[in-house]
């Protein structure tokens, strides 16, 4: 019998792995960027589960938010 906490940990970890694989195999660059942002948010939750609150805040703001903005700006430049 899987306990609830272990279930959440497994869900977060496998979710991060799957989004990472989907991100790298996506045909469209925009899809890949969005999947990368989703992976960042899942990993943020993993940091919270591991008790690293400072890292979670930084990852949410930088890893998911700013990196996403930078990537989307790059894609816009490439498509011009």
């Amino acid at each position: 019998m899987i306990s609830g906490e272990l279930f959440i940990d497994l869900l977060l970890g496998i979710g991060a792995l799957v989004t990472a694989i989907l991100c790298l195999t996506a045909k469209d660059l925009f899809q890949a960027i969005l999947l990368f942002i989703s992976m960042g948010l899942l990993v943020t939750l993993a940091w919270v589960r591991l008790g690293a609150w400072d890292v979670a805040i930084a990852e949410a703001a930088i890893g998911a938010g700013l990196t996403g903005a930078l990537l989307i700006a790059t894609r816009r430049q490439l498509n011009q």
Binding site: A56, I57, A58, A61, G65, L66
Partner: protein, 253 residues
């Protein structure tokens, strides 16, 4: 493996490389990961000396949040060098153009296309972001938060402001240059200043450490925010704001 790189969006067919090479690469990577996982399973940390060290010295650090204490007191060389790395990256992507040095840091202009929803939203959001960032900075002394998070939030506010199109930043202006270096300058200044009292660089006197850390953090927040906004600006070869003449631009590329 690194010879045939491409930028085109459509021509991305997983196999720029032959599948035999991909197979071998996959095999090698999988083997490496297997060995890493095995060594991780066998690795049993008996005791963690750093935990007790941090906990027993937290009183003297001037802050109550152990992460902030590690970042800005116990291992402040790391953070000092990190701010230096940020400054180097900023210098690397800095738009050239000395003639812009006379222009003000922020110029306001009419955007080509207005996004009314974003504008109205930002009127509420931007003050809230700035206040939240200040809160994160202040609370970093005792609760999760600190200079990095506050700086990242401020940078987010700056990027939103850019996207609304009314404002454009000129990072060659004196104010902007001051913002870019103030974090490193303040860190070095405080780090060198405490030599007078304690004799060791970056070893803050216990009574003053709280306020010194706060001073460094405020400066570092400003620098981090400015550098991150600059990094975003550097990606816009054609700036979002008004662009005078294209002839100049091509010379700078």
């Amino acid at each position: 493996m690194f010879n045939n790189m491409t930028l085109s969006d459509s021509a991305q067919q997983e196999g720029g490389l032959p599948s035999s090479v991909l197979f071998i690469v996959g095999l090698v990577v999988a083997t490496v990961c297997l060995f890493l996982a095995m060594s991780l399973v066998e690795f049993q940390p008996t005791d963690q000396p750093l935990v007790t060290l941090v906990a027993s010295n937290l009183e003297q650090s001037g802050v109550e949040n152990p992460v902030t204490a590690v970042l800005l007191n116990f291992r402040s060389y790391d953070t000092l060098l990190e701010v230096a790395v940020l400054l180097i990256v900023a210098l690397a992507v800095m738009p050239s153009g000395l003639q812009d040095a006379q222009q003000p840091f922020i110029t306001v202009s009419k955007p080509r296309e207005r996004s009314l929803v974003l504008e109205a939203f930002l009127r509420w959001l931007l003050p809230a972001i700035v206040v939240t960032s200040g809160y994160l900075l202040w609370t970093g002394a005792s609760l999760p938060g600190g200079a990095f998070q506050a700086g990242a939030l401020l940078a987010g506010a700056g990027i939103l402001l850019l996207l609304a199109g009314h404002h454009s930043f000129n990072f060659n202006a004196p104010t902007a240059r001051l913002l870019l270096v103030i974090g490193l300058a303040m860190f070095l200044l405080v780090g060198a200043g405490v030599i007078l009292s304690s004799g060791i660089a970056l070893a803050y006197p216990v009574a003053m450490s709280g306020i010194l850390i706060l001073v460094i953090e405020v400066a570092a927040t400003l620098t981090i925010a400015a550098v991150l906004v600059l990094l975003f600006c550097a990606l816009q070869i054609e700036p979002l704001g008004p662009q005078p003449n294209l002839g100049d631009k091509e010379k700078h590329l």
